[in-house]
Each structure stands twice: as C-alpha cells, then as structure tokens.
Subunit: 497 residues, 2 copies
Amino acid sequence: MSQIKELIIHFSKLKQLKYINNLLNWDLQVYMPDGSNKGRAELISLVGELVHKKLISNKTETLISEAEQKKDLSLIDAAILREAKREYQKAIKIPTDLVVEIAKNASLGHKAWEKARKKSDFSIFRPYLTKMIDLQKQYADLINIGENRYDSLLDDYEPGATKKWLSSLFNNLAPQLQTILKKLETSGEEPDSSILENVYDAKKQWEFSNSVIEKLGFDFSIGRQDKSVHPFTTAVASEDVRITTRIIENFLPAGLFGTIHECGHALYDMGFMEEIHGTNLADGSSLGIHESQSRMYENFVGRSKEFWKYWYPRLKNLFPENLGDVALNHFYKAINTVKPSLIRVEADEITYSLHIILRFEIESLIFEDLIEVEELPQVWDEKMTELLNITPPNDAKGILQDVHWSGGAFGYFPTYTLGNLYAAQIYNDALTKNPNMPFEFTSGNFNTLLQYLRENVHQYGSIFHPRDLIHKITGEALNPEYFITYLEEKFYPIYRV
Amino acid sequence: MSQIKELIIHFSKLKQLKYINNLLNWDLQVYMPDGSNKGRAELISLVGELVHKKLISNKTETLISEAEQKKDLSLIDAAILREAKREYQKAIKIPTDLVVEIAKNASLGHKAWEKARKKSDFSIFRPYLTKMIDLQKQYADLINIGENRYDSLLDDYEPGATKKWLSSLFNNLAPQLQTILKKLETSGEEPDSSILENVYDAKKQWEFSNSVIEKLGFDFSIGRQDKSVHPFTTAVASEDVRITTRIIENFLPAGLFGTIHECGHALYDMGFMEEIHGTNLADGSSLGIHESQSRMYENFVGRSKEFWKYWYPRLKNLFPENLGDVALNHFYKAINTVKPSLIRVEADEITYSLHIILRFEIESLIFEDLIEVEELPQVWDEKMTELLNITPPNDAKGILQDVHWSGGAFGYFPTYTLGNLYAAQIYNDALTKNPNMPFEFTSGNFNTLLQYLRENVHQYGSIFHPRDLIHKITGEALNPEYFITYLEEKFYPIYRV
C-alpha cells in the first residue's frame, strides 16, 4: 500500500470515530431519555479519548512523515495530508486527560444548560460554565497559535482567523449596520409582523417545512429532520446527514426559517464529491463557509420575494385562517421586519451580526481574564443595551439562550457573521453568472443555485482553505461590502428609504 | 490501583464500546435513513474491531492473570473476573478480520433482509445469508467449545447449553405440547378472536401500551419506546434502556403484547444493582433468563385474567366501537386463542415453542453441513407443515419472518423456549411466596412481582451463571414440568378440557 493510501485509511477511521461522536450527540439532543446523562457522558468522553489517542499515536506521525516524502501528490491527496498534519500538530499539544475532561463536561453541561434555560436560572449552569471556561483556557494556552489565547480557539472553527482581523472587520461592520438600522427605524415605515404570531398548527408547519427543503434539494433518502431544543445539523456519514428544528406554534419563523437554515448546512454535507466521502476532507472548508450556505438559503433565498411568489400560495392554503386575507407583500415585509430583539436565532438580517459582535466582545473579555463568570449575565445585559438598545428581562432571554458555551465552543460565534459575509459575496457571484435564478425561484425551481453551489463550494469539502476557496470562487478576498450592498438593496425598498 | 480495579475499568470501557454498538444498531433499525447503510456498516465494524482488539490485547491478559493471583475476591469481583476470562478466552481464538467481516455483513444483511421480507423475495437476502452462515461456521470452528459446532454458537447466548441437552429437552417437550394442542383442538371450543382484527387506531394503541408498561414499572426517565420492523430491547447504559414495537392497526396483539414483552426485558436491564452498572456484569445472566422476564410479563402476566380485570375497562373505553359489546371473558379467550399459525412472534403459548424447535432443527442441519442455503425456504415450509400442519404461502411469512439470521444470531432461538421454561419455574416460585399477587393485579398493582424479580433476578445482572441462578431462586435445576403444568392449568379451563 502506498504511504498516502495508508494515511487516508488511518484518518478515515478517525473520521468514523467522529461520526460516532456525532451520533452520540445527535441522540443526546434528540431522543435520549432525561435520566441518561451520566452514561452518555462516559460514552462521549471515551470516543474523545479514542480519537485523541489515535491522533497522537506514533503511527500518525510516521504516516505523515512518510507521506511528506512523496512528490507530485494529487490535489486531493495533498489536501488530505495538509489537514492530517494540521490536526496532528494541534492534537499532540493536548494531553488526552484534558480532551476527556472537556468531552465529559460538555455533555453534562449541555443538560445543565437545558435545565437552566428552562428555569431561567443561570446558577444551575454556572458551575459547568466556570469549569468549561477553565478547561478552554488550558486548551488555548497549550495550543498557543497566533498572538493570543482567543486566536488558538478561533483556529478550530475558522482556520486563519485571528482576533485582530475580526476586531477590525467587526469594528467596521458594526457602525455600518447601525447606520442602516437607524435609517430603517426612522423611515416611518413599520411592517406589521403580528400575523407571524398567530397560532400555526405544529404538525402543518412541520409538513410544510419538509416540503420546502425537499424542493431545495434535501435528500430524505440520506437525511432526516427531527426536533431538538437547539436546531443543528450533523453528519453520521456523507450519506447520513441530519438536521433538527424547533417549532413554536405562535411564532412561524422559528421552525420555518430554522429548517431552511439547517437545510443549507445539510446540502453542503450531502454534496461532497464521492472521492472524499469518509476521508478527513468530508467536511466544510470552515464553519464560516459552512454558515454561508445556511444563511444563503435562510435569508438570501428563503426570505426573498421570489421564493415566496412560489411558496406563499401554498402556505396560505395550509393556514387560510391566518393568511387568507394577507397579501404576499404584507407577508414578505413581515418576514423581513427589522427590529432589535433579544434572541439571536430569531434576529433579522441587520441586527443579527450585532448579536454576534456582543458574543465576540464577551468571549474576548473572558479569555483575556478580564471578567468573572458570575459577572457574565450582567455584562451580557449591559452590552445588549449598548449595542441593540434593549435589555433582557431574564437570563433565559439573555445569556442562557445559546447552547454553544455548554459544549465549550468559544470562538465559534464569529463564524456566523463571517457566514453572512461569505454568503453575500458568493451569492453575488452566483447571481452574476446566473441572472435568471430569482425568476426560476418563482416557479419553485431551485436547481440552478444548487448546481452552482455543488460545483463551486459543496463538492470540494475541505479541500481548499477558506481563504483560497473564496478567492477561487469570486476572484477576491473576503469583502464585507457585498453584504452591506445586499442589505441596502433589500431593506431600503421594504422600508421606502 | 488494585489489579481487580484495573480489570474492572478495562472491561467497563469494553462495555462502553458495546453500548456504542447498541446505539448504532438501535439507530439503524429505528431512525437511520434508507440510503445510509454503507456508512453505518463501516461504523459498526469499526466498533467491533475496537472491542475485539481491546479484548485480545496483552493488557487484558495481564490484568486477568494479575487478578487471578488475588485471594478472597468479593462475589462481584469474582464474577467480573469469571466473565472477563470467559470473554477473553473466546476472543483470542478469533482473528479481528473475522469479527470485522461479521459485523459488516450483519449490517448490510439487515437492510437486505428488510427489503427481502418486504418483497417476499428470498433471493435478495440469500447472498448475505450464505455469506453469514459461512462466517459463522468459521467462527464456530475457531471457538471449538463442546462436542460440535453448534455448541460453540450456543455458548454465546446460553452459557452451558449444548445441542445434546437441548435436543433431549425439545424431544420431550414437543410431544407434550402436541398432546395439549390436540386436546384443545378437539375440545369443540373455538374462541372467537376476530375482535382482535378490527381496526384499532395506531395512535391510541401506542398510548395504551405506554400506559400499561408505565404501570408495570418501565421508567421513562431512563428509557423510551420507538417503532421498528422487528421489536427489540437494547441498552445504551444501565440508565438508558430502549424498547421498540411494531403496531398493526388490524391486529391488536402485535403492538400490545410486543410492548409488554419488550418491557419485561427492559425491567431486567433497568434493575441491575448500582454496584454493577457499567461493568461487564450489567447484562442478563443469559438470553434464556432474559427471555424468561419478557415471556413472564407478556404471557404469565399480560395474558392473565387478573391483568385484564384491571386493564380491560380501560381498553374498552378507548375502543368502544370494537369492544363496547365484548365481555371480559370473551376478550380473555380471544387473546388466549391457541391455533397453529405462520408467524412466530404472533404465536400462542402452546405452539410458540414448536416454531422454536423448527428453527433449532434447521440450524442443526446448517451447522452439520447437511443443507444448502437455497434449500432453506423449502425445508422451512416442510418442517412447518410437519410440526404445525400449516404451510407458508410465501417466504415473507416463512423463512424471511425473523431478523436473527441476518445478524448472524445462530443458536439464539432456543433461548426463547428456555425463556418459557425458566419463566414458568420462576413465576411458580413468585406465586408460592406471594399468593396474593394475582389479586393485586386486578387493581393495577404490579409492584409485588417487580420487587420479587428485582430481588431474585434483576439486581444480579450476570453475577450468577444461569444454572446457578435458577437453583438459587427455586432450589432446583431447570424443570420443564412447571411450564407444562402452567399451560394445562391455564388452557384446559379456557377450552373446557
């Protein structure tokens, strides 16, 4: 067997362990009984331990150095080696005990967070969060990439991203968003979104959402949708991609746009070229690029007028009692209402990134040791007031709203805003090359977009570094102006600015 | 750390891998999308490989021989060592490649079997079955316990059982069952079970079944029920025990008694003493003992008059259109109708064991190399005619009805009949010590039985060998007469014999 072939198999087995981990976590969030936390935490930490031990084994080192001797590697083989090396070099810095402890704390912390959120009681979650932050600090200090602790964490989610780069990006973005927001707020227009808060039967919502994503290209023969407290996408194989949603009967957008969002992620995971199935490249280029797919489907497509030209009559048919008298344009404005609100996942396209900037700033404080865990709820509320001018009435609608920290995902949030930026830039390219696309949407045809994304994004998995991928697709580096232009062109007409 | 402690931890990690395997299989049968077989087969075979490698490692050998030096082991520690040794000594005979191949073939074979059964086309399943039989022959030849190949297979499911012992047991049992059957058939009584074949709304059936098992003691905070093609019980931890059922709208017993049956298994798995949770003793003493619990709940309890004195008014209330005019006694006779039929899992208490004897005889032929796979459907049908005097109209109702062979479970079926025998003997003891028990059932109180089983059976997990356990509980070895007496005392009055 050639060296590179052995390396591929070695990392494919690691990938299989990660798929097992994904199933354990999927089940934990979707079907596991409430009283089964302890046993599950043990299984998750065992898998974490197995992954880590395999990764840091002498065999890994040998296989990598042997593969490095080989000249003229194919594009795919070279990428497999690059990712293998990247993962190995980070892993050898971390003792297995720490990996196990993080995994165990993550699964215990998840259930604690769920309970804390339900009771709106931060104190239930606090000990787990304190422990997790401590573990993540240890982790970051050991990884020691870049100029500071936070850089080490960022690199796990967005290779190449740094705190400095993000600060500068966000410092430019925030005032631009606030300027747009102010224009809309003072436009005198106030879209009426109250129709979205009528009662929409959960079962009908569920069926409608499923028919939408099926049209978008979600393949139910290799995927499924379930319900969970926090919506997510996960893969148990390249041919087993699962999304979850939560349906709120008196808030239509939660389930509907949640499903479309996760569908965007799933289409990426379902679209890798067969050559990389099961390899360490069967993943997104980065979380930012991954998020660009979900946001593109959720917002650029799912909240567009053209999309609803096709779907609105169908939705109306299902809910005549709520929408019978409501014109398409009214509905379109309702789902594009811009208004500072408390919950990130329900935020509009303008204010969303302000929610992210809040989290980025808090995470920066945490990892600079400038804040204690018990201060977090208050700081959260203060920043919320500062950035969005509203104050959470309780912790469930404040600091407890997101699942991420319970799992130790610090440095993850910024990828959501990067996703918006990547989405705008890629979507602009797709539109330039396929100007007919929105017109096709009006008759329920979403194939051109999917084909474009399959060809330019999905098939490659993580063959390309995000920086290279965006350049390859659009001919330039990440450029936030596409996002600002998109927002202005979409929202100024809605608000008659 | 003491040697025995290290051994315990080592085997606990093995147990965790088995729990992971259980989750992979649970998901495969319950929620996995149809197109995801290939990836799943890889994950299952990886876990099989990890279990096997860990089991045959030098570390296992060292830990066992160190533990063996220790004197005065506690009851639990001694049992842990006994089971560890037993498992290790078998495992070292089997090359990892064979383990992996069996696991891979099992998960591919399962989906093939599902499809074959749906289409009633044996040819779809044949290549997988052929391969599996070949692998199992290799396996048995390597294990090489007892006097013949089949003994080696039996030992995995019922330690100590041999083909010779079973043949003698079954050769006595079959004519006794046939005698009872003939008496019932010629009694002139013919219970009318047609009421069970009306349409019973699936959702209401589901809810009723759940309320029944909750009363029996199934703890939904550490367990759940789902639907699958073939009902089963599995554990993902001692605090995560899952059962499945299949509901047939026009055959009430399928879902109802299926659920009660699996509940009996689940109560066992939920009832281990805490000291053995997560250890290699967190399992039944044998499959036969395990099956005694499911059969006891399904038949001795679930098909008793006293049970239905409590539940029948409730069932009637749910389905007034079907049962409004049907008296308890009519219903009781209907669910205890004895009639040779095609499907094992739907068979009555008399003919059930004849279905098992058929399978035992066929498996014996297979492992003596006396039959080819292509002959199996015909031999099945012939034996069915011989033993039960009915002939399957197609393979779905014949050889394709059971899942077991697709997973390589040869030597497993006999444990079902052993379960009946153990159940009768244990239930007789429970009744002797608690004569009031049936009366308690009439008011929906099933605690005395559960407490008896917890104390005498469940808590011990596999601390005791089945032979020792039955002796410890009842003061004698397995004695089939209890079963025959039970059948006669129950069915003769129903049929006025």
